[in-house]
């Protein structure tokens, strides 16, 4: 377990965070510039804090008060950067084995073949990293960090530099790494979808302070009312029960107390609980139940709160019986619909707008 309680002043920015992780994936979530990567650098030992301590499995890595500072190379913390930083002068295999060679003999518990198989990189080992695609490089980087047999694995926005297709390819691989190798992971991201899918615990950081900690859906809903810096980052999380899987169309029907949600692909077995992340910008509001419309996910609720941000209004909707949904619409539309707190509305969103990262099996998390 890692315990962090550090303070650091960089120019006008002040970082003051304290948290601990558990088994599995702990996500550090926040906007760019919120201090999450800085926190990661302090854990890895790339930056010294001004005050505070970092402890890993009871061993003190940094303690400013007692002057303890364990150098990066002796921390045994794996770090995967946004761009994979493979050694260009070594083969993929040499890259993979680099950290293993430095791991103490008794600690080399992670098997080379198992990692190569899990990450699907067996056919790449004899190649040069300069000849790999972005997604392949990132898989090798994850394998390289894993094979150093770290006590903790830090992933710093490992998918940020990849396109959506590659993201969807690598996300399940990270899930497999989480489930097959017993290494706790700290995952830094500003993508709600990735965090919800991977993490059992999330630490939300804003402007250098921890604003919320806990199980992801819970932690996100706690901050849902707070205005996000960017309207594209506002999302809501809905919990729903899987009712049926339509094999013919590859769709899954989810039951929410406020209506029906359709998602593409699988979301778990019938009766299990699924989570869906809906971006506020993907939601359409209507005062009447629309007829003959292609949108299939329609939920009913009541306007709870309206916030303005220039020409855009963010509306918080209390869904019928359970949950809260954010919708961003223009001020003009708001006036035309004459919405105010207490108005009844139907919220619609397209199934096609929910990518695979947005649908999580709630049962796989929260252990």
């Amino acid at each position: 377990m890692i315990e962090v309680d550090v303070r650091l002043q960089v120019g006008a920015f002040s970082l003051d965070v304290a948290f601990a992780n558990g088994a599995g994936v702990t996500a550090l979530f926040g906007q760019s510039g919120s201090g999450k990567s800085l926190t990661l650098s302090i854990i890895a030992g790339l930056i010294k804090p001004d005050a505070g301590y970092v402890r890993l499995d009871g061993e003190t890595l940094v303690d400013v008060a007692t002057g303890v500072f364990v150098p990066v190379s002796r921390r045994r913390i794996g770090l995967v950067f946004q761009d994979s930083n493979l050694f260009p002068h070594l083969s993929v295999k040499q890259n993979l084995l680099y950290g293993r060679w430095f791991a103490p003999r008794g600690e080399r518990r992670i098997d080379f073949d198992a990692v190569v198989e899990t990450l699907g990189i067996a056919n790449l080992v004899s190649r040069s990293p300069t000849r790999l695609s972005g997604g392949e490089r990132q898989r090798v980087a994850i394998g390289r960090a894993l094979l150093s047999c770290p006590r903790l694995l830090l992933l710093d926005e490992p998918l940020a530099a990849l396109d959506m297709q590659r993201k969807l390819e690598i996300l399940p691989l990270i899930e497999r790494v989480r489930d097959e190798f017993d290494v706790p992971i700290i995952y830094v991201s500003h993508a709600v979808e990735e965090v919800l899918r991977l993490a059992s615990r999330v630490v939300i950081i804003d402007a250098g302070r921890v604003t919320s900690v806990g199980e992801p859906a819970e932690a996100f809903n706690r901050i849902a009312g707070a205005p996000a810096a960017n309207r594209f980052d506002r999302s809501s999380i809905l919990a729903a029960t899987v009712e049926e899987t339509s094999v013919a169309h590859g769709l899954t029907k989810l039951n929410h107390p406020a209506g029906t949600i359709w998602v593409a692909g699988s979301a778990g077995n019938c009766g299990s609980l699924a989570r869906v992340i809906v971006k506020a910008t993907d939601v359409i509001l209507s005062r009447v139940l629309p007829q003959e419309i292609s949108t299939r996910s329609i939920l009913s609720g009541k306007v709870a709160n309206i916030q303005f941000d220039g020409a855009i209004a963010t509306i918080e909707i209390d869904l019928k019986d359970d949950g809260r949904l954010l919708a961003t619409i223009t001020r003009g539309a708001l006036e035309d619909l004459a919405l105010k707190p207490g108005s009844y509305v139907y919220a619609l969103f397209k199934t096609a707008a929910l990518d695979e990262r947005a649908i999580g099996m709630a049962s796989a998390q929260g252990e």
Partner: protein, 239 residues
């Protein structure tokens, strides 16, 4: 054959062969002996912060800006028979004055700034995040230097070595001041050419040695180009 070229263009005398062999030996020893110091100095200047860094940088570059004769004279004062360190070195059997080893020292010192400049650039060009990656994988700075920095700096190290070698072949001022111009001991190609031009009828010999000097320098340049191209190809910088 044109009149200005001697008829004996390709017939090198034993004395001329001696000068060529000596030049190659001095340049090779000077380059190889200064290589480890050059690499360490270049790495330290590129990557380390230490007090007196500007001073070290200045001292390294001095031979480049000082008149070579001055450098030779400073060497004489430091390492000569009556110099500051000369007598102590003589006691342990190391004598530089009027020996070919002294010529190698002079050539090494003169080539050092060129060597360090080329190497420093290539150490500075290495992505720092590769070093960080190496350290997070458990390699300390020394291992990281040998496994990441040095292999990636190889093209620059080679260029630096070739430049120093070429400089050593052409060195004249510092060498002649420090160890004089003794045939068979300290008379390099450059010194021999100078001597031949000072005696009547020496033009043919000077011309022969000039051609040899051009040939050696050109070969060294071609070799460095090939080695660099191969290194770049290996690192994927060339399609």
């Amino acid at each position: 054959m044109p009149d200005f070229l001697p008829a004996t263009l390709f017939e090198l005398s034993p004395a001329e062969w001696t000068a060529i062999r000596l030049s190659l030996r001095i340049a090779t020893v000077a380059t190889l002996a200064s290589l480890p110091f050059g690499i360490l100095t270049a790495y330290a200047l590129a990557r380390c912060q230490f007090p007196g860094k500007t001073l070290v940088n200045g001292i390294v570059h001095l031979p480049l800006v000082l008149p070579p004769v001055v450098t030779g004279f400073v060497l004489l004062m430091l390492l000569g028979r009556k110099g500051v360190f000369g007598p102590y070195l003589a006691e342990i059997g190391v004598v530089f004055s009027f020996r070919w080893t002294g010529a190698a020292v002079a050539c090494g010192v003169m080539g050092f700034p060129l060597m360090v400049r080329a190497m420093r650039l290539s150490f500075e060009a290495i992505d720092r995040r590769l070093e960080l990656a190496s350290e997070t994988l458990g390699a300390n700075r020394i291992w990281t230097f040998f496994l990441v920095n040095l292999p990636l700096a190889v093209p620059g190290v080679i260029v630096g070595a070739i430049l120093a070698f070429a400089k050593a072949l052409g060195e004249f001022g510092a060498t002649i001041t420090f160890v004089s111009n003794i045939p068979g001991e300290t008379q390099t190609i450059s010194a021999a050419i100078y001597s031949y031009t000072q005696v009547p009828g020496g033009d043919a010999a000077a011309m022969r040695l000039t051609i040899v000097a051009v040939f050696i320098a050109f070969s060294a340049l071609v070799a460095s180009e090939i080695i660099q191209w191969r290194a770049a190809k290996r690192l994927g910088n060339v399609e």
